[in-house]
């Protein structure tokens, strides 16, 4: 999957809090980021376009993957049936899931036969807005997309609150101590223990996680 440069960084802030962090970790530590990815992370791009254009044209998701694999999709909590008509605006939340079991799963399915059973929470699709602009979108990954897209998003970089990221490291500090190859913050390399003890303040960081 190709990853667009449009979604990288912004200008670095002055001050003590790092803005860009990159980790290289053992592959076994990728699941440690699972709750972070489920709760949502920001990606930056051009909004005012369709869900399909946003994910496929800007972030390189294959249209086939979007059609066949992401069978349940929410935009701001509403169920999306047509990814070419649902429009992503600045600050939107996009939640991606595979097909779900049971009656509820069938009802929530993208373009599903039982859509009438959840009409009140269906996305009211509209024609795509003509003007696109820079913006950010909160992406939540669940089940199969979490396993399949999670590592890819982490590798290319996501925006998260630094205290939530720190919680991930603290929850498995010993495992990260053992399995972390390289830690860089704003281009400078750190020992993991030293990095963990730093006072970061609050704010948003651009996080990249690669595997050894």
């Amino acid at each position: 999957m190709a990853y667009s440069d449009k979604s990288n960084g912004g200008t670095f802030f002055e001050g003590s809090s790092p803005r860009q962090i990159s980790l290289t970790v053992d592959a076994s530590l990728i699941p440690a980021f699972s709750q972070l990815l489920q709760n949502g992370f920001w990606i930056k791009g051009y909004v005012g376009c369709s869900v399909k254009a946003f994910l496929c044209e800007q972030f390189g998701l294959s249209p086939e993957y979007l059609e066949k694999r992401i069978q349940t999709l929410f935009l701001d909590g509403d169920v999306v049936d047509d990814v070419e008509r649902a429009t992503v605006e600045d600050g939107a939340t996009l939640s991606l899931s595979a097909a779900m079991p049971g009656l509820a799963g069938a009802v929530l399915r993208k373009g599903g036969y039982y859509a009438a059973m959840r009409d009140q929470i269906s996305c009211r699709e509209e024609t795509t807005s003509a003007s696109m602009q820079s913006g950010k979108v909160l992406v939540k990954l669940f089940n199969m997309p979490l396993q399949e897209l999670g590592p890819i998003f982490l590798k290319h970089g996501i925006w998260v609150e630094n205290d939530k990221f720190k919680d991930v490291l603290k929850a498995r500090a010993d495992d990260f101590q053992r399995g972390c190859g390289e830690v860089r913050a704003d281009g400078r390399q750190f020992e993991f223990k030293q990095f963990l003890e730093m006072d970061w303040g609050r704010g948003e960081i651009f996080l990249q996680v690669k595997t050894i």
Partner: protein, 577 residues
């Protein structure tokens, strides 16, 4: 196949009769249990009286080499709803009972002397023995005792203390492949009926017996292969469910704003990612548990699992979506270990986890504990197991608890607590909750390929009023599936892949030498629903019972701020065929 009738109230002690299926020939699972209850149980009888019956029936394909065929149905007049009840379970008992040659066990009558009995069934016959040493044992200790007595090849059907105390939320427990009492026919209080019959445990041993033989074994083999291939290649049955279990639904239902939180107050729970199927699977793996595991032999979906505690010791089976929701979001609790502990206690005491969780939610609203207080919730479950005065109230379900403590917001239909989908966000599920013969039930409306084959007529899915027709068709299809003994989770693969649905019908035809069509399957489902509706009508149910509690129409549910909008007139159309 025969029916094993046991009259627990016969003079001189329990009396066994083995009789042919007779008028019940060709029926299995829910079709059989509902036929017996509808025909033989006076609808106005007291559910704990000698006139009620407990019917335990494997499905039409149980005990064969067909995959997914290990479900068992338990039928009675429900102490919880007062209507007809079929509750369904996995575990080993279905296949063992079918291999023993029984299409059903029917417990009748009521012992006069207050003894509790164990029943042992093997190829040599049936032995019924009073055993007071089993009194008030939890299901786990009970099964260990039975293993010491009868060996480690047995399957057990049992009740815990809740069933002995005849609580309306009491379940019937079934042992899994590891002989743990982790699978339950939970809903509707069938455990109380078993307790009223004085039966603590039924031990099944099929040593020396083989799978049932099909009329056309080669055709069964071929159809089974197609069926299994279909299940394995489908992303739900072949990937999502094995990887994450049923709790894979948590994040998605939460995102839909349909995840009932704090006693159905809002539709989204902030702590969902901490208790999701994804997090649960990771936790299990990290602790040496198993996130991919079948509840019965022959299951290829493997949606169950094994949950270990922090020290890596077995605690409970992987809690299901409904259990995690009921003891989690519905009570404001985001602690997986606390939820797992409550699941263990529910299994041990023999309580329906959905009813228990909904009841705790009502109890929290009543001020007995704070939402989010996991330790307090565990204490409330323990009250039930101990049979304290408070425990006896809670163990009789959400409706009783709400009445005792003066709570209006009690999420029940026909006295049975709603499961883990708020009907205001997913209105079609609300139609099923309201109109199902079982009370608020999430499994009543699963999908079979009615839409693919346009069986039962074509429904325009875009029209809101289409929800009525969809719910009807789904209830029909579910009743049919429940009669085969098949696990309902085949539904999604069957919905998407016409050849997988056809393979299911081919398996039935191969085994019994029939020529069933999809229309016949639908007719079976319709007939089952008709019997159930008829029983409920004779038991005093009217259209006014096919309704959600009023507050669902008035109280908007955040985040979508929707109310239940399906009209009473439309609800009354569900069964007009």
């Amino acid at each position: 196949m025969d029916i094993l009738r046991i009259d627990m109230g016969a003079s001189g002690g329990p009396k066994v009769s083995v009789v042919p299926l007779g008028e019940y020939a060709g029926l299995g699972g829910r079709a059989l249990t509902s036929s017996v209850i509808s025909k033989e149980v006076p609808p106005l009888c007291h559910p704990l009286s000698e006139d009620n019956k407990l019917v335990i029936a494997p499905g039409l394909l149980s005990g064969t080499s067909a995959a997914q065929s290990g479900r068992i149905s338990v039928g009675c007049k429900s102490p919880l709803t007062g209507g007809i009840k079929e509750s369904n379970s996995g575990g080993q008992a279905s296949q063992v009972l079918a291999r023993l040659g029984y299409g059903a066990i029917i417990l009748e009558g009521k012992p006069k002397e207050g003894n509790i009995y164990k029943i042992f069934i093997n190829k040599d016959g049936v032995k019924i023995t009073p055993d007071s040493s089993l009194c008030m044992l939890g299901n786990y200790d009970l099964v260990e005792k039975m293993k010491k007595e009868y060996g480690d090849k047995i399957a057990c059907i049992s009740i815990g203390p809740a069933g002995e105390m005849k609580m309306s939320a009491a379940s019937v427990a079934f042992t899994d492949m590891e002989q743990r009492p982790t699978r339950h026919a939970g809903r509707g209080g069938s455990g109380a009926v078993m307790g009223s019959k004085g039966v603590k445990v039924i031990v099944l041993d099929d040593t020396g017996l083989s799978n049932r033989v099909a009329k056309d074994p080669e055709k069964l083999r071929t159809a089974n292969k197609t069926f299994v291939d279909g299940l394995r290649k489908h992303p739900v049955t072949g990937e999502g469910l094995p990887a994450f279990g049923t709790n894979v639904l948590a994040n998605v239902i939460n995102e839909a704003g349909a995840y009932p939180t704090n006693n159905f107050l809002v539709g989204r729970f902030p702590g969902t990612s901490k208790i999701s199927g994804e997090t649960q699977a990771e936790t299990e793996k990290a602790r040496g548990g198993i996130p991919t595991h079948g509840c019965h032999r022959g299951c290829v979906i493997q949606c169950s699992g094994v949950y270990m505690d922090k020290d890596g010791h077995y605690l409970t089976k992987q809690p299901e979506y409904e259990t995690v929701w009921a003891h989690g979001a519905n009570c404001g609790i985001d602690d997986l270990d606390a939820i797992a502990m409550m699941d263990r206690l529910d299994d041990d005491y023999g309580i329906d986890t959905i009813e228990m969780g909904a009841t705790i939610g009502v109890a929290m609203e009543a001020g007995l504990a704070k939402f989010g207080d996991a330790e307090a919730a565990i204490r409330l479950v323990k009250e039930v197991g101990k049979g304290t005065d408070l425990g006896r109230i809670l163990g009789n379900g959400a409706a009783v608890t709400g009445k005792v403590f003066g709570i209006e917001r009690v999420p029940v239909v026909k006295g049975q607590a709603m499961p883990a989908y708020d009907p205001r966000a997913i209105q079609g599920i609300g139609v099923t909750y309201a109109t199902s013969t079982m009370g608020a039930d999430h499994t009543a409306g699963y999908a079979v390929a009615t839409n693919i084959l346009k069986v039962g007529g074509y429904v325009d899915p875009l029209k809101p009023e289409g929800q009525i027709d969809l719910s009807r068709n789904l209830q029909i299809a579910t009743a049919a599936i429940d009669s085969t003994g098949m696990c309902l989770f085949i539904a999604f693969a069957v919905l998407d892949q016409p050849d997988t649905f056809q393979a299911l019908i081919d398996m039935l035809n191969a085994f019994y030498g029939l020529s069933l069509t999809a229309d016949d399957v639908v007719a079976l489902g319709k007939n089952v629903l008709k019997l159930e509706r008829d029983f409920n009508a004779r038991a005093g149910f009217t259209a006014k019972h096919d309704r959600l509690p009023e507050y669902f129409k008035k109280e908007p549910l955040p985040p979508h701020n929707v109310t239940f909008q399906v009209t009473d007139e439309d609800l009354d159309k569900v069964y007009n065929w």
